[in-house]
């Protein structure tokens, strides 16, 4: 706790949160048990201004900050019977309420669309089936099968594919290695992949 910072004038008996926790706990319990307005006012007067400081930092906007304060303190009032003094301090409980409300407020504000879909994320591995029982595992194309098909490619196409996909060379490097035009590398790559695709289809 920092020393020497001027404390809020309203609270002549201001103390560290740990020290006032018991007091606030007791008020909250009273609110929960008997809707005691005076006790709630005590809780409110302590927490609302501090909540506002937090809310201003989080929301960066006075109107939203006050909305957060109001919603949080409404929840404290309405749900005080759920506060369990044995489980934790009022500051913890009220913070978690504020955090959750803030999160929902931000979510509502945001209208950004993130168009990530499974095909983007798991591009190769996905094969949609309507019914999981319809297709047996034996019918799957495996990497081993791909390897077998690969061996059936014409030598010139295979060399290019090997250099690009297994040795990791660029198309330009492959052109230089085999002393062929870049266009030829591109067309051989395309033809090879088309061929593989057809072989995979026939294989089905």
């Amino acid at each position: 706790m920092l020393v020497g910072i001027p404390l809020e004038s309203k609270h002549s008996h201001v103390v560290a949160p740990k020290d006032c926790a018991d007091e606030m706990s007791a008020y909250l319990v009273l609110v929960g048990q008997s809707r005691c307005q005076r006790s709630f006012a005590e809780v409110f007067n302590y927490f609302a201004p501090r909540l506002r400081s937090y809310a201003l930092k989080q929301m960066g906007n006075e109107a939203l900050a006050m909305e957060l304060v109001q919603d949080t303190m409404s929840n404290v009032w309405q749900k005080s019977h759920l506060f369990n003094a044995e489980k934790g301090a009022p500051s913890t409980w009220i913070f978690t309420i504020a955090r959750n409300i803030r999160f929902d407020m931000l979510r509502k504000q945001r209208n950004r669309k993130e168009d990530i879909c499974a095909d983007d994320l798991w591009p190769v591995l996905c094969e949609q089936t309507a019914d999981v029982n319809e297709v047996s595992l034996d019918e799957q194309i495996t990497l081993q099968e791909l390897g077998v098909l690969f061996e059936e490619l014409p030598k010139k196409q295979r060399e290019v594919i090997e250099a690009i996909y297994i040795e990791g060379k660029s198309q330009q490097e492959v052109a230089e290695q085999f002393n062929i035009p870049l266009g030829t590398v591109k067309s051989r790559t395309r033809l090879a992949l088309q061929r593989l695709k057809e072989m995979l289809k026939d294989n089905d």
Binding site: M1, R50, F95, E114, D115, I116, C117, V124, L143
Partner: protein
């Protein structure tokens, strides 16, 4: 036994409510399964609450008139108690039943169809709305994901069973974050296989042998 946990930074951000939503979902599911991280999150909440509401925390000048707000709050009608609907937390695949952690329970019914993948792998997508998509991945015994690295970040939580990836062995509840600095090949040798919940923000990048063929032209092969 859980050996892999979220970073303390992530746990704290989770407690603060400031970590990205998709990560928060993963952390939340891990916390459901991990007493250690439950305790750490509770401790972090206590610390943050105490900082936010410390007696000396700066109370910004020109405070608004709180009295109206106070009166309004106390006079407003009682909240309606929302009906609590019990939701099943059982995810099914091919006769197998998996119990999901609380944070993921609501996806047990929202999960798309299971799809077959390469090898002995199964995948079911989970639509997270604005947060994009996650997947349940089930590796049968002997199932293998070709070696890959990551263009973005890959979060994985083990829901059931065990798997290994050449870097370590992972057990139920383990939580990992992989990025472009990690190259791995997940596989499961567990008799019951392994169910994981996973999210990637960019495609995987296959690194070994013929699997590299799958990278740029994948759409040609697996339509």
């Amino acid at each position: 036994m859980i050996n892999f946990h979220p970073d303390l930074v992530h746990l704290r951000a989770f407690a603060q409510g400031t970590c990205p939503t998709n990560l928060a979902l993963m952390v939340s599911a891990h916390v459901d399964m991990c007493p250690r991280c439950q305790a750490l999150v509770m401790q972090a909440q206590e610390e943050i609450g105490s900082e936010v509401f410390s007696a000396s925390s700066d109370v910004i000048d020109t405070p608004p008139d709180y009295n109206d707000m106070l009166q309004q709050i106390m006079q407003s009608p009682a909240f309606e108690v929302p009906e609590v609907k019990a939701i099943s937390n059982i995810l099914e695949l091919d006769g197998k039943r998996f119990e999901l952690p609380r944070a993921l329970a609501r996806y047990s019914e929202k999960t798309g169809n299971w799809s077959r993948l390469v090898g002995k792998l199964w995948q079911a997508p989970v639509d997270l709305g604005q947060e994009g998509q996650a997947n349940f991945i089930y590796m049968e015994k002997g199932g293998k994901v070709p070696e890959h690295t990551h263009k973005g970040t890959e979060f994985t939580l083990v829901i059931d069973g065990q798997f290994s990836d050449g870097l370590a062995d992972y057990d139920c509840g383990d939580f990992t974050i992989m990025d472009s600095t990690n190259k791995h090949m997940p596989f499961s040798e567990a008799d019951e296989g392994c169910l994981v919940f996973t999210m990637v923000d960019k495609p995987l990048y296959f690194t070994s042998g013929l699997a590299r063929l799958l990278n740029p032209f994948s759409q040609l092969f697996f339509k």
